[in-house]
Amino acid sequence: MANPLKGEVIRLYKTLLYLGREYPKGAAYFRGRLKCAFMKHKDETDPEKIRQLVARGDHVIKELEALYFLRKYRAMKKRYYEPEN
């Protein structure tokens, strides 16, 4: 793997692993799927392809953060506020 990109990939993996702790289906489930997803592309050498995959990973990070926020927001709204109908 090209050297600067190696840091990027490791950063991505660490961040996703950290976010996975709160995953609704369980941290272990998330970790398993995360490892599979990364292992699938472990022999990729084209830096352009790697950059695309990292960008996809960053997108997943944003989706996870949105998922966690919405879950919490909806739970709080349901518990503390009257239904608006």
């Binding site: 976010l19 609704p24 926020f69 709080m76």
Partner: protein, 254 residues
Amino acid sequence: MSGRVLVGVKRVIDYAVKIRVKPDNSGVVTDGVKHSMNPFCEIAVEEAVKLKEKKLIKEVVAVSCGPQQSQETIRTALAMGADRGIHVEVSGKDYETLGPLQVSKILAALAKKEDAQLIILGKQAIDDDCNQTGQMTAALLDWPQGTFASEVSMDGAQVKVVREIDGGLETIKINTPAVLTADLRLNTPRYATLPNIMKAKKKKIANVKPADLGVDLTSRLEVLRVDEPPQRQAGMKVETVEDLVEKLRDTGMV
């Protein structure tokens, strides 16, 4: 004005955990259960950090009262952008009876000591649902309060607060120093990312004892019993509309 904001954060059982009552009905099971920052406190921290980013205030100080583990909650606040933390150490029996009255006495003493311009708290904690700490703190300090805030803007030495009330929204203008409590729609709290958590390790958390602040922690409340809510009765299935009407008549609803 010092430009300092005190934000109170509470360590509570995580909102997604299924709560279980202890077999002796003395309380709720907390050992080994996932804890995190109270969701309304997250919104309070986010608002304080936003004010700092807009350069309307200078320093955000995160405060938490509790045992050693409360430091984790302060670290989360630091990772979200608070500048430093104050951990008021309360453990054992004192922690079990710690309630809004004691916490508001602590916050009032700290506000005077730190010369705070604003105190921002969550409107209530999801474990005790008291919704009292903000109001009591304001009363002890004789400061104005903007509670259930869904929008906050600063106008010189005054704060404009849009409050969520039963009839809709109420806009008030109050002088600083003041106490604000955050409601759900005030903002969207940022997620504490790994690099920020690493940076937060360098920020200082001061350790303080309630006795140092001259606060008496004796509680005037005693918890007698904790029970689970009644189990929902299973519903009944009926075959036809006539059956349904008959059942409704039987139970006196029609």
